[in-house]
Amino acid sequence: MRRPAFAALVLAACFGCGGPAFETGARAFSPSFPVDNGASIARVRARVAKTPIPRGPDVAVGIAQDRNSVSAVLLDGTQHAWAYAHRVDQLLITGDVVVASGDGEAVVVDLRTGRPLSRRKIGPVRLVGASDDGTMTVLTLRRGGIGGSSVVVFDRSGNVLRRIESDESLGAPALVGGVVFVPWKTQSVSAIEVTTGEELGRFTSPVVTESAFTSNGSIFFGDQELVRFDDAISAARPTRFALPPHAFLGETRRAVPESAVPLEVSDANRPSRLLVKAAPDPGLGFEDNVYYTINYGALTAVDVGSGHPLWSVLPGADAAGGGSYHGGAYLCDVEGRIFRVALDGAVSPTGRFNRPLRSCLVRSDAVVTVPPHRPDPTTKNFSSVLLSSRPELLPLQLSLLDALGKFGTDEAAQVLLDIAEAPKTMKDVSDRARTVIASLRTGRAAMVTRLGNHADFLAEHPAPAVGPMAEALATMGAREAAPELARHLLDPATAEADLPAIARALRALAGANELAKLRQFFALYRVAARGPHQEAACAVAGEALATQGSPEDVARVDKAQNDVSTNAEVRRLLAEALAKAPRNVPNPSRTPP
């Protein structure tokens, strides 16, 4: 009983530090706010539209490994870096400042200089969000067990200009032109004038709205789906967009940039993080139509429309965080290195922190004049991740392979084939690549070309994934693949496990020349077959000869079936198959000369 009372006392003392006593926001968030069909928010739009929203410096901000300092590296080419000692539990970038909270205090630090601009005691509350317009800072704070939230606006001297208490659950605010946009009840956004505390307008959001934020010179509301605060804000259908439910996203579908909402240190090392940035007005959707995911050390670019991965790279050690920009994304690793990865997948080191990081955020609003190049999928774009033996990357690797299987292009098929035959691939990855290849209904030309490769000691070629290709090509009816499939059937370097699939494919695709190879295979192994793969392949070869071959072939197979020296399992499988598919009425076109 004593503890809540004590906590309330502490909160009251902290919120009051350096400012006037408690205010109640009687007008803001009032249930009696008139339903005006968007008239009030339209007026706010008209007022705010005249205020340019400044783009802050491009910057990477990091939390040190021991959480006792925040540091930054400017990404404007100067490589200017600074560090500021302060306990950090939460961190976000807004405008020209970084807001860090920890040990019951929020500090606003100038991004360009590292100089603290203001500090506020906030007590044992959670920083929900913050915004800064260059002259004042607004924080949304949420109390824990007691409930309710506060909005606190203070100037560079730390003087509280406005404080609003509410029993509602308030979201992350945006501050533009002296107006604070505060989401609440996950559905409404109140536009509150700082100087008067009056609620100027209210927007009833059609999407779940946890945050208001500025990005790329615009204001956005939302969470997984975003609404842009533009001239359509009062219309029946405001401008809204979301990330489609792609496999790469899993549960992580938040479309709010990481830098715009507080990064909690406890969340910083979660296995999957999403880097996304809304396109600037008047564009609709996301920058470059691409989003990025971070999985441990891997950064993956995914096309928003199709869900197809463009590339996946492992630039450094485990990732500490990153951010997207028009033309690519930044990634920082736990060793403090910063990498810039262009939209074409090219990785370049762009700076480094002077310390190991626990987590980092990157915000870049730089305007790129050269249109970024979107690459076709090539093995180079995926090899570092797909060939990695780090077990924690396995879910990403499997997702990438599944996605490549849906591309429907020769290039994607090439990537899958490369991965399936790469000697250093992890078994689970190789197996999935083979499964995906077997299910392909495209990439026919790539596969036929690849079948021309044979395992070769001299050329140091490994054996290609012939079995899965055989399955896919047989389904596609690719008769042009038959000659090479026949060569692989007889190639002693072909993997044992691939033999049955090759034989089955040849049963469907073989011409006269391939029947000759099946004849040779049947002769070599009808007695000598060892193990289930050779036995199965031999039985299928015999079945193909008996059902499609010459009268001599039919007689040869019959004789083999009655010969006790023929492998018993081959005889059994052959008998079963021929019971279903009767022996051939000879087909002259298939009879060898």
């Binding site: 395992a455 002693p492 002769a523 070599l524 192994y525 000598a528 060892r530």
Partner: protein, 279 residues
């Protein structure tokens, strides 16, 4: 003493009996008398039983009978065509190679694709004896086999067949550390691929290169250029290993009479260069 003499006498007697037995079994040219018709049909029946022991015994008899063995060629070929256990295939391939290599050629090529490595080695051995164009082509493919013995047998066969078309692959094998490839390369190389010998002479131990150098210097055809021979000698002459001087001295004594003046001069120079080394 008496006991010692008794033991000695026993050893002498048993040794002479064993020698007598050996000489009767391994008489050069094998059995002279052709098989009778009954013997032939009995042997064919044994071959067709599929019983490994019976087949091996029959093969032994057939191969040993020089007068009649050739007529069993078609039977052996038919057995291989129909399919045999991997354990028996090497014996059959070897027997067919002895009985009628030309008839066996297509079977050796087919069995060179067998998944059992022992069978492939047997096929490579038989192909190496043929020196025909198809056999050389099959051996060239086997140079890429993942089994080292198959490659070694194939390389030797290509060298014996003077298959100059295989020289680039043999050179690549040598560069990959396959020491057996150097002698065949010295046998077959023409022009540029012979330069591998110079590299080898300069870098590899004499034990790995001496046979290849000897083979190369015994060649007097235009394919083995004097310039390469001179380079090889220069590379060897740079070595101060004691064995090199002895080897070069021996090489100069054995050098073919047709060797050019330049090669002879290079040989003498190389011997002089290693003079510091004890012979």
């Amino acid at each position: 003493m008496g006991r010692f003499l008794r033991v000695l006498a026993w050893v002498v007697v048993t040794e002479s009996l064993a020698r007598a037995a050996d000489s009767s079994v391994a008489a050069p040219g094998g059995q002279r008398k052709p098989f009778t018709a009954d013997q032939r049909s009995a042997l064919r029946r044994r071959l067709e039983t599929g019983d490994e022991g019976a087949v091996r015994a029959a093969l032994h008899e057939i191969v040993g009978n020089e007068a009649s063995r050739r007529e069993f060629g078609p039977t052996l070929a038919a057995l291989l065509d129909a399919g045999v256990p991997a354990s028996l295939a090497p014996s059959l391939l070897s027997a067919l190679g002895t009985v009628d290599g030309a008839l066996g050629a297509s079977r050796f090529i087919a069995y060179a694709d067998h998944r059992d490595v022992i069978v492939r080695r047997a096929a490579a051995t038989e192909l190496s004896k043929l020196h025909t164009v198809p056999a050389r082509a099959a051996l060239a493919v086997l140079l890429r086999d993942f089994d080292g013995d198959v490659r070694r047998l194939s390389a030797a066969g290509l060298g014996d067949a003077a298959a100059s078309e295989a020289a680039p692959d043999l050179a690549r094998l040598w560069e990959r550390g396959e020491r057996y490839a150097l002698v065949p390369l010295a046998q077959v190389c023409v022009g540029a691929p012979c330069a591998s010998l110079t590299k080898a002479a300069g870098a590899a131990p004499l034990a790995d290169t001496s046979a290849a150098v000897q083979v190369f210097f015994s060649r007097t055809d235009r394919g083995a250029p004097d310039s390469v021979k001179v380079d090889v000698l220069a590379a060897l002459g740079a070595s101060k290993a004691p064995a090199v001087r002895a080897f070069l001295t021996d090489l100069s004594e054995r050098a073919p009479k047709a060797s050019s003046a330049a090669v002879r001069a290079a040989l003498e120079g190389a011997v002089r260069a290693t003079k510091g080394a004890p012979p």
